[in-house]
């Protein structure tokens, strides 16, 4: 196995060089998070009920949300690639092709089971807690434990 890090879900690209770790820089991510959190609540993406409806084909709501997000995403990626627009720290935006491995199947199925149980994927967990359902902190801790156990078992799991 090569030492080159390709898993950008876990680690930021090394290409950017020395990262800006100042509070001022990180505050921007906080602001983007705030917008994300407000959208999560107002679009009811963090609603356990909406997730149940989605998996029972009882409403169009979540399909509309995810579908329109993908359409906006496709247009955004196309514009970023076409215009060569730079990131806020001046570095070029690069897209890493995803490599297929069996984890996308096994892990995907396991995540799907958990998604229908908790009504949340990882990001919305934080918005659920913020919206006042503080018991979701237990779900979050359990999810962190899940990522830790994955890290521990990684070499033994089929990929």
């Amino acid at each position: 196995m090569s030492n080159k890090i390709t898993d950008f879900e876990v680690q930021s690209s090394d290409k950017a060089g020395a990262a800006d770790t100042s509070i001022r820089h990180n505050f921007r991510y906080l602001l983007v998070g705030v917008v994300f959190g407000i959208v999560f609540v107002k679009a009811e993406i963090i609603s356990w009920f909406r997730i149940q409806e989605m998996f029972r084909l009882q409403s169009f709501h979540m399909y509309g949300v995810i579908g329109s997000a993908v359409v906006v995403g496709i247009i955004s990626v196309w514009i970023i690639k076409k215009s060569g627009i730079k990131a806020i720290d001046g570095t070029p935006v690069t897209f890493q092709p995803k490599k297929f491995h069996k984890g996308q199947i096994y892990g995907g199925l396991l995540f799907g089971l958990g998604w229908a149980m908790t009504g949340a994927c990882p990001g919305p967990l934080f918005a659920q807690i913020g919206s006042g359902v503080t018991v979701v902190a237990v779900v979050l801790l359990s999810a962190v434990a899940g990522t830790w156990v994955y890290g521990y078992l990684k070499e033994k799991l089929p990929h």
């Binding site: 991510y29 995803k98 490599k99 984890g103 799907g112 990001g123 006042g132 979701v136 890290g151």
Partner: protein
């Protein structure tokens, strides 16, 4: 050092200063959730599909005042078997599965599909299969516990 251990330790060696933006981002999501629920909501109940409402009623879930049913998601119900399984086992599956799949709804379904990555389509289809199986096959048993 054994290779397996080296791999494992590299997996865990990711929490440098460089990754601290992640924590700012998720803290922002938490604050955003608070702002929206506190000041940008009319406080009305979640209007849910009648078929779902009647199914949930058979599990004694009728409270739709919040985005999550309080009969499952509350501290007082946490130690009931049903809530414990949904929150603790469900949370574990979300964390474990997301890492194993190399992404979640954002990373694969939205970002991956936007970038036309076929492995992300595979992952997204598997997310949906897992969700359909849980909601329609397994959840009816868990909800009756």
């Amino acid at each position: 050092m054994r290779p397996a251990f080296r791999q494992t330790s590299r997996f865990f060696a990711t929490t440098g200063k460089k990754e601290i933006w992640n924590l700012f981002f998720v803290a922002g999501i938490l604050v955003g959730g608070f702002i929206a629920a506190r000041w940008l909501s009319d406080g009305g109940p979640v209007l849910i599909a009648p078929a779902l409402a009647s199914e949930l009623q058979s599990y004694n879930i009728t409270d739709t005042r919040h985005l999550l049913p309080r009969e499952i998601f509350s501290w007082e119900h946490l130690l009931t078997l049903r809530s414990f399984i949904l929150l603790v086992v469900g949370g574990f599956l979300v964390g474990f599965g997301t890492r194993y799949a190399g992404g979640c709804t954002s990373g694969h379904a939205i970002m991956g599909l936007s970038n036309l990555q076929w492995p992300s389509l595979v992952a997204t289809v598997c997310f949906m299969i897992g969700g359909f199986v849980m909601a329609n096959v397994l959840l009816p048993f868990i909800m009756r516990l």
